[in-house]
């Protein structure tokens, strides 16, 4: 009781030895007491939890507390450990098991000093439990785990590396024995855990047993008679094994062995569903002519297991192994047979269970059924392999990326299983992020097509909950924009479109319902595409994607806000999948607003509304994102023309006339404007910049005159106006303005040629009243000098007809986007035509316009000899 009085609170160090002693009393079974198994099972977790929460074994704070307390704590820990060790040496396997588990915990929790002084004793104690006299499986598994923890801790002390390697070396053979001779899978898994710790932390200890370890693991994998989880653990160990030697050759050899083994298994499995030539080709790539075949994986041949079952487990484990080899670190640079692995991926993805004509007579339906049932797993693993290649090689994959694009896009057309599609989307995201805009050019058409299909189709829940909504859900947006152009003057909201007969997008809807997880993947991919490739040739698909993303976001939020908080009664996925969908759709929407475009985002006001609502109503994660979105959009809505601090201050301080003139020019745009709306907007934006000017008061008066209060609301009204009437003229005007650009450019060029006077483009003035947004973007420039609507029409015909011609001449053009307007639907998959660029600058020449071809050399793989001769 006196002791109790001394304790201040739960943080008092004096509490710890006391608690530890009572734990020993309460939970650890006495010497000759039988263990109540039931109780200990329930009690152990709470025991461990108390130990860890209060750091009862840590013996910390040795300086700040008085030595008496230190001694008390030390003796308490001593007692604890001696108790454990006596449990460990008990004959009863239950007691032993408890002792081993708790010793593992003690390895993690005890102080460094104590660990270093006693790890070898513990290791030897634990070792005795995985060696022959031990026969309880449970004890073996627990010992493996505790030993793995001991090694993990030991690896943190570089000063005992040598001793560690020595001790770890003692473990290798017992572990191999467990793998080879024990017949219980759980023990194999325990052994795999320990093996992993050995390879990962003490690779030198494995060095002598390299081949034996390889053989032991390989035999387990090739037999394929374990659960996936155990196989994966073993596969991981095999992948890390070359680290034990750490040189270039062992890595390459291991990779080659694994690939050959995969290939052999595939040859067997794909008999009948694949042309013979394929397997021969793979073989030829695997073993280059003139080279010897390496020993099979694991040393001896493990062929001929069972012919009724496909060796899917083995193949997939070996592929998993390849993945891990590609993505784990390795001490030296190695040569990766990229081409070979890509060929393997392509080979696997090509087999879809259909029978080639030549094979028809040799296959039974049972065989086909067997293959078809296993194929999804194999496809999934080959996609994993592709992912690992991209992750591991990054930009070194560039010479192969065109090939990958071909494989991926081809597979995209056929892949319809949700899980595979999600993987495929993630591959595309990785490609886009690692290869940049260059690959976006090639991938965009397929991504846009597939993502549009996935997002446009109904998901299961939609059908169940709202059958009436099939109209808007299936109505493809491109169609909507068609209508906009036809009925330019009609005003109506998006909802009003629903009465229109919206035909089911039959050909694009390959699947009736698309799971939400696939939609999430599609949204994420569109987001990345917009981030990386919005600047690239996006004219053909941009407007339809913007619309699609807006629609998806609205649909995702119309049933209220999902909750990311997990529900204890449901598996995590199902509880939060809807919220994930909302988050993804909002993220994609934000990206579509922020991605570079020529026009102000048409759905901005709806989007803002959504974000505002989400910020107020949604759960934490969504609300946080909505707040972020509003924050990010602020710069778009009210562009901040922040000065470069140093630069402007320098300009101000200097008395140089040039810099004053320069400043004047920058700001003159706003002063000269006669449209009150525009100038008001600019003034409010530039207020911060100009606040130090001494004519602040003058401008304040000016603002007063123009009724600043009102003008501040104008932008909002204008946007609402525009978006609530999607059919009105403002939208078409944007198009008109774009069409006129070539004319403007031409005019500029001509004028400049004649007398080198810089002429202001004249089409700006005209566009101001029709499309405020475009005008406001350009209004910083000087006022216009004249209008010529007639001329612009004449001029604008040229680009139109030019692009028409392009349409006709390019037979291989791949038009994936519904016709939005005359020239936007040219979505050249691989072609280099750029209708808009064509319009943008008159002297831009394109490969596809035949007139220009002769003016420029084609792509010739030059014969270097002739060139150097001519030099």
């Amino acid at each position: 009781m006196a002791r109790f009085d001394q304790l201040e609170n739960m943080y008092d160090v004096g509490l710890k030895p006391v608690m530890l002693r009572s734990l020993i009393r309460q939970y650890l079974p006495a010497e000759n007491h039988p263990l109540n198994l039931n109780n200990s099972c329930f009690e152990l977790p709470s025991l461990v939890s108390i130990l860890q929460t209060h750091c009862l074994l840590s013996e910390l704070d040795s300086q700040s507390i008085d030595p008496k307390l230190i001694n008390t704590w030390k003796s308490a820990v001593d007692d604890w450990l001696s108790c454990l060790l006596s449990l460990l040496s008990s004959d009863m396997s239950d007691k032993c098991w408890v002792g081993i588990c708790l010793l593992g915990v003690s390895c993690q929790e005890c102080s460094n000093q104590r660990f270093l002084s006693s790890y070898s004793v513990w290791l030897n104690k634990l070792l005795s439990h995985i060696q022959p006299p031990a026969d309880s499986q449970l004890v073996k598994i627990a010992s493996c785990t505790s030993l793995a923890d001991l090694l993990t801790r030991l690896a943190r002390f570089p000063e005992v590396k040598k001793d560690g390697n020595l001790l770890a070396g003692k473990l290798v053979q017992p572990v191999l024995k467990l793998l080879n001779e024990d017949n219980v899978e759980a023990v194999w898994e325990g052994a795999a855990n320990l093996l992993y710790a050995l390879i990962a932390f003490f690779p030198a200890s494995i060095h002598h047993y390299y081949d034996k370890v390889e053989a032991a693991i390989a035999s387990k994998i090739l037999s394929g008679k374990c659960s996936t989880k155990t196989l994966k653990k073993l596969g991981y160990c095999l992948a890390l094994l070359p680290k034990a030697k750490g040189d270039k050759d062992s890595w390459s050899l291991m990779m080659q062995k694994i690939l050959i083994s995969i290939n052999d298994h595939l040859n067997e499995a794909f008999q009948g569903v694949e042309e013979e030539a394929k397997s021969d080709e793979a073989r030829r790539l695997l073993v280059p002519p003139g080279k010897d075949l390496p020993l099979p994986l694991g040393g001896a041949s493990f062929k001929g297991t069972s012919s009724e079952r496909l060796p899917t487990a083995t193949i997939s484990t070996l592929m998993f192994c390849c993945c891990k080899m590609l993505t784990s670190s390795y001490p030296v640079q190695v040569t990766v047979p990229v081409r070979l692995m890509l060929a393997l991926v392509e080979r696997l993805l090509r087999v879809d269970g259909s029978l080639p004509h030549t094979m028809l007579p040799f296959m039974t339906s049972v065989q086909q059924e067997l293959i078809c049932s296993e194929l999804p797993v194999l496809h999934a693993y080959s996609l994993e392999l592709l992912i690992a290649l991209i992750k591991g090689m990054r930009r070194q994959l560039l010479p192969h990326s065109a090939y990958i694009v071909r494989v991926v896009t081809r597979y995209f057309k056929r892949c319809s299983l949700p899980e595979l599609r999600i993987k495929l989307y993630s591959i595309i995201r990785m490609l886009l992020l690692s290869m940049g805009v260059g690959i976006a050019i090639y991938l965009a058409p397929d991504v846009v097509e597939n993502a549009s299909n996935d997002l446009n189709s109904l998901d299961g829940e939609d059908i169940e909950t709202s059958p009436a909504n099939t109209g808007p859900a299936t109505g493809a947006l491109p169609q909507l924009s068609n209508r906009k152009r036809k009925h330019g003057a009609k005003t109506g909201s998006l909802e009003e479109k629903q009465d229109a007969p919206s035909p089911k997008v039959g050909e694009s809807n390959t699947h009736q319902t698309i799971p939400i997880t696939v939609k999430i993947a599609a949204l994420d991919t569109l987001e990345v595409l917009l981030t990386v490739g919005a600047a690239s040739k996006s004219e053909s698909w941009r407007s339809s994607i913007d619309g699609l993303l807006m629609k998806t976001a609205i649909n995702s939020c119309k049933r209220g806000w999902g909750n990311l908080e997990s529900n204890i009664f449901l598996p995590h996925e199902s509880a939060s999948v809807w919220a994930d969908f909302q988050l993804s759709s909002l993220r994609a929407l934000l990206t579509s607003f922020l991605a570079p475009a020529r026009v102000r985002p048409p759905y901005l006001s709806q989007g803002l509304e959504l974000f505002r609502r989400g910020k107020q109503e949604a759960g934490m994660k969504l609300a946080q994102f909505c707040a972020y979105a509003l924050f990010a959009l602020e710069v778009l809505i009210h562009p901040r023309a922040l000065p470069l601090d140093d630069f402007y201050s320098a300009c101000h301080n200097s008395t140089d006339g040039a810099s004053n003139r320069f400043l004047e020019n920058i700001y003159s745009g706003s002063r000269k404007q006669n449209t009150s709306f525009l100038s008001a907007m600019q003034r409010t934006e530039q207020g911060g910049v100009e606040s130090h000017d001494d004519d602040l008061y003058d401008r304040w008066l000016q603002n007063e005159n123009e009724n600043q209060n009102k003008s501040e609301y104008i932008p909002v009204e204008d946007m609402k106006d525009q978006t609530s009437r999607p059919n009105d003229s403002s939208f078409t005007n944007v198009l008109e303005v774009r069409e006129k650009e070539p004319a403007a450019a031409n005019a500029d060029v001509h004028m400049r040629n004649e007398n080198e006077i810089v002429v202001q483009p004249w089409h700006l003035e005209e566009s101001v009243p029709k499309s405020q947004e475009v005008a406001s973007a350009k209004a910083v420039m000087s006022p216009a000098v004249g209008t010529n609507p007639e001329g612009s029409e004449i001029e604008s015909k040229t680009p139109l007809s030019a692009s028409d011609r392009l349409n006709d001449t390019n037979h291989d053009m791949f038009s994936c986007v519904d016709k939005v307007d005359g020239f936007d639907n040219v979505a050249g998959k691989t072609s280099s035509t750029l209708p808009n660029a064509k319009k943008g600058s008159s002297s831009m020449v394109h490969l596809d316009s035949d007139s220009s071809m002769d003016s420029f050399p084609g792509i010739v793989d030059a014969d270097p000899d002739t060139d150097s001769d001519s030099d």
Partner: protein, 446 residues
């Protein structure tokens, strides 16, 4: 501490194109000291760059041997005595490398272009890109596009992916587009990294700089100067463009590419001018926020662009500087002094001829493991999870008391009823252990 400071300090590498005896000089910009001199190098304009902060690469403008080929030298910065001398079919003019240092591109006066893989030295592609001599080349910010500027004013943009395509099925043209808006030789190309909207700027002897959209090739803006522009550089914050002209003046413009499109800007009254050089500017670059300008008048200057004063003026005496590259001083330290680099980036001799593709061997690529250079990741204990598994599995088993298999178990000391059940449990548990990977552990979190 001094060491740490030195690590972050920058140095300037300069070289000339006139005579090989001038060589490469590395200067400390702060002190004006000469840090290193490498003899025998004369590189054409845009023919010098720093590879991965470890190597200086320069194309040699003089011919080698009787065959009239060219050469590219690669000096490890921390061991400059032993350069890697690669010989090429033609004399190389401009050369450039990707940001990740994996590929090197070179252009010849004949208009031919070459593309190498650095780690293997393989000549991936050679092709006739232009009719006239190539003046400068640059990779886009994400390294996926390659831009050429030619003496006839033509700019061409190529897709790296189809250029280096090993299969080369010919399905995708490598040339994205080209433009002949400039009326005279291109003198500089710079790409901007600003966000998703990739943009590049070209300068030309016709007295203009043009702003372009990189992928579409759309021409956005023209800046008109009173003189031929011989060199350009972008301020690191990418709002200011510095254009050196043929009379030695450097014009400074504010770039406003956000909103303005299709416009001409005369720069005479909008830009301010940095005046110190008497003759044509040959190169511009940045060290931090300080501009460095080099001129035909044999000098190069370090500028404070805020106050527009010259901080330091260097005199190269022997010849005009044509190439300048800013490097980290730390890369000059010998390896022993440097952090221990177990994973030196591999550079091979650049091959002279393209290799016929060998399906077995040629397709392999070098893999550098980025993880191995960083610290080992924090390790986690297996036990925490596994203990919970063991406990929950064991508990489940005691509840179900499935003991059909375990009867053969023995142990004389434990003959009681409890022990039998216990052994059975273990067996059953062991058999079913693998099934527990998905079971949420309903105990307290560990």
């Amino acid at each position: 501490m001094e060491m740490g400071e030195k690590m972050n300090k920058e140095a300037l590498v300069v070289c000339s194109d006139k005579s090989t005896c001038i060589g490469i000089t590395v200067w400390d910009l702060e002190t004006g000291e000469q840090l290193l001199h490498i003899p025998t190098c004369a590189a054409a304009p845009h023919g010098l760059f720093c590879l991965r902060n470890q190597f200086i690469v320069a194309s040699q403008s003089n011919r080698h041997g009787s065959f009239g080929g060219g050469s590219i030298f690669i000096w490890p910065l921390n061991k400059p005595q032993s350069p890697l001398r690669s010989y090429t079919l033609e004399a190389m003019g401009p050369i450039s490398c990707t940001k990740d240092g994996l590929y090197i591109a070179g252009g010849a006066p004949s208009g031919n272009a070459y593309l190498w893989e650095v780690t293997s030295g393989r000549l991936l592609r050679t092709w006739h890109a232009h009719h006239k001599s190539l003046k400068c080349m640059v990779f886009s910010d994400d390294d996926s596009l390659l831009l050429f500027g030619c003496t006839d004013g033509i700019i061409s943009v190529w897709s790296m992916i189809s250029l280096v395509d090993v299969e080369d099925s010919g399905s995708s043209p490598s040339l994205l587009y080209y433009s002949s808006e400039h009326r005279s030789s291109i003198t500089g190309l710079v790409t901007m990294s600003a966000g998703a909207r990739s943009i590049f700027i070209s300068s030309s002897l016709d007295g203009t700089c043009k702003v372009w959209e990189l992928v579409s090739g759309r021409h956005l803006q023209t800046l008109v100067y009173p003189m031929s522009v011989t060199a350009i550089a972008l301020h690191p914050l990418e709002r200011l463009l510095f254009s050196g002209s043929v009379d030695g003046n450097i014009f400074v413009n504010v770039l406003d590419i956000g909103a303005v499109e299709d416009c001409f800007i005369t720069t005479e009254d909008q830009a301010f001018v940095l005046k110190v050089h008497n003759e044509s500017i040959t190169a511009l670059t940045f060290s931090g926020f300080h501009l460095i300008s080099a001129s035909e008048d044999f000098t190069f200057c370090l500028w404070d662009t805020i106050n527009r004063v010259v901080l330091r003026r260097f005199n190269n005496r022997k010849g005009a500087v044509t190439n300048m590259v800013v490097i980290k001083q730390s890369s000059l330290f010998p390896i022993s002094n440097h952090q221990r680099v177990t994973h030196q980036f591999q550079v091979s001799l650049l091959q002279k001829y393209p290799q016929p593709s060998n399906p077995g061997k040629g397709m392999a690529t070098f893999l550098s493991f980025p993880a191995s250079r960083s610290k080992p990741p924090p390790t986690h204990f297996l036990g925490n999870n596994l203990l919970d598994h063991l406990i929950s599995a064991r508990r489940t088993n005691t509840c179900y008391a499935a003991n059909e298999i375990g009867e053969k178990h023995r142990r004389s000391t434990m003959g009681n009823k409890h022990d039998k059940a216990c052994n059975g449990d273990k067996q059953a548990f062991a058999m079913s252990f693998a099934g527990y990977d998905a079971v949420p552990v309903a105990m307290q979190p560990v």
